[in-house]
Symmetry: C2
């Protein structure tokens, strides 16, 4: 793609038009890149802001093929796409990053786990099962994940004891040893077609146990320099072994005995990288563009400590979203608002996020305590 | 506008669709605001990226009136607009920020100078003249400015001696005492309808003498705390005396004897505030939106020292733009690229800008020396 150096000529298609696409577009404007989005939802976050939005299913072969065939380069902002159509387009000469082969490995949590195993990448021990009966044979407790179709915390559950087993998914799934981790970490790593790799500094995630979604993220993670380096090296190993071009989020467990285990990976900008917009020299969105265009990768250095809080739809409210307390939040120092432009809220729907920055992670943590209950999305 | 707190309902029109509108849009996306642009150039920087772009003249009464009458709020990204149409729309209940009355004072450099004089705001002594003959009667040297129609360094010249006077503008103009300043400073200040004001820290501008355009900008300015405070207070005085809502760039001369004199003001986001995207908590674009929507004004604190370099069209090249050296620049740490999406270059046309950040202003100045000749816009 070096021939299209300044990028104004590359016709770039993005499968998915959600908030990740929206933030990608904000970054693309700086480089004079034209993004074309495909999403089935006419009210998707990218529908009103993209200069080019096609309404159609990203999982339908014909729709994706028709959308992709006049593009120079295709990328995704969600994994659940017609990989078959992308494979066909790749055969016909369209650049597809991340590559369809990578999407195939990752989309199915069974093949994803098998990939770690085959490449001796550390991950929790697992079995692949076909249905509820097979899953139930495994002694509880364990983590039970649908092989495909899960997202945003759906399709993943902890089976704590024998009586929980009635809830086991009755479909092909992964049964994984429950890891008593001390921290959940995430590393965003990028790789371009020239093979250059660069990792963002490790962040620490705190999950909402009810929604199984990232609720808070802190950057930098409070870990030793040794663990930091190991985590970054591990993320680089994963993207290299995948031979992937693009950006990859590598979610890790840190155990009490200081082992790092890969939990899951996502081959796209990720919720655990939103803070990079304000906290790092380059954002994950800029880095994604640089990687897929084979540009030099951006500087990932931290310039400010930060926390990211997802703005989730309040429990008990469904309908046109109202943001209670936004005025209060907007008046606070070093507090950045990102709304995704979703008309309707529902419980735990990701409606936006806040990034709170500060000179130190302790200063940021104090601010988060003040802010965390200030903003509510109701209807 | 507090009723439209989260902003998704406010229909906001912007007169002008250049790079300022483009960066305003990038910021508006974070707040889920819908911007509608009007610009006569079908290839304007906002034409391809805005979700709503109307091609039409911003100086034509009927066009502006038709564009504005279904909007809740109108703003500008350039002063040269049909003020008459905005006045009519304001009468009919459309919010117009900055107010047409403010635009009227500023657009004409004669009334602008008179405003400073009437409000005892420090500025260089001046005369208003009607034509070349009148201008020529003033003893050289002096600065000669067309009252209207000048922009981007055009319509301003220094008449150094008697023989230069043949070049005097033969139209209503301002003849101003030439000030032997030691620094050119700029303060961006915002005011919302509730009367809250907030200034960004003072920056220092270095002009390209040939193009009479800002070539480099450094933030923070290397001035004493006393001058810093005076400059910020002066900027706040100006916006308050204008009774203006919106964002105002106040360009100042600092003289050898430590006097601050107002050079010019611009009632919109300004070239001397581009660094705020990376260097300050809130950007000038976010601040503009906050001010016109009567939201709490954003935190203007510096988080990183920085320099802004305009990417100007190279002399001797006119036509489809090519960016030589962009790959080199993009590989440098803490270097941010902003291209404006202008297809054609011409000498000194503003094609984009670079922001270079660092821990200290000295570190930034060193980097600027390395970078400043790396990137060229040719055709």
């Amino acid at each position: 793609m070096h021939k299209n150096w300044h990028g104004s000529n590359a016709k770039i298609g993005v499968l998915g038009g959600g908030q990740l696409g929206r933030m990608l577009l904000q970054s693309a404007i700086d480089f004079n890149l034209q993004l074309h989005f495909l999403d089935a939802d006419p009210n998707a976050p990218c529908a009103l802001i993209g200069h080019s939005f096609t309404c159609g299913s990203i999982t339908d072969f014909d729709t994706v093929y028709a959308f992709g065939k006049d593009k120079d380069l295709l990328t995704v902002e969600i994994e659940n796409v017609s990989i078959e159509a992308l494979e066909q387009l790749e055969k016909e000469g369209v650049l597809v990053y991340p590559q369809p082969a990578v999407l195939r490995v990752i989309k199915d949590k069974g093949t994803q786990k098998q990939f770690y195993f085959d490449h001796q990448l550390p991950t929790a021990p697992f079995h692949l099962v076909e249905n509820r009966v097979e899953a139930s044979r495994v002694p509880a407790p364990f983590v039970h994940k649908m092989r495909t179709g899960g997202y945003d915390g759906k399709g993943v559950q902890v089976i704590k004891n024998e009586s929980d087993k009635i809830n086991c998914f009755d479909e092909p799934s992964v049964v994984e040893t429950l890891i008593p981790f001390v921290k959940e970490l995430s590393v965003i790593v990028a790789r371009n077609a020239s093979g250059e790799t660069k990792a963002f500094p490790v962040v620490e995630c705190e999950f909402n146990p009810e929604a199984n979604l990232v609720e808070f993220l802190f950057s930098p993670a409070e870990i030793s320099r040794e663990i930091e380096e190991q985590a970054e090296q591990l993320a680089i190993q994963v993207i290299e072994k995948l031979n992937m071009v693009g950006i990859l989020a590598v979610e890790l467990f840190l155990t009490a005995d200081k082992l790092l285990l890969i939990n899951e990976i996502a081959p796209r900008p990720h919720n655990s990288g939103h803070h990079t917009i304000e906290c790092n020299v380059s954002s994950q969105f800029e880095q994604h563009l640089r990687s897929i265009l084979n540009w030099p990768l951006g500087d990932t250095s931290i310039i400010r400590a930060g926390a990211m809080l997802n703005i989730l739809g309040e429990k008990g409210y469904t309908g046109i979203a109202k943001y209670e307390g936004l005025e209060i939040v907007m008046a606070l120092p070093e507090t950045h608002v990102h709304l995704y432009g979703k008309q309707a809220t529902k419980p735990f729907r990701k409606m936006g996020h806040l990034t709170i920055t500060g000179a130190t992670i302790n200063a940021v943590r104090e601010k988060v305590e003040v802010i965390k209950n200030s903003l509510k999305v109701v209807s």
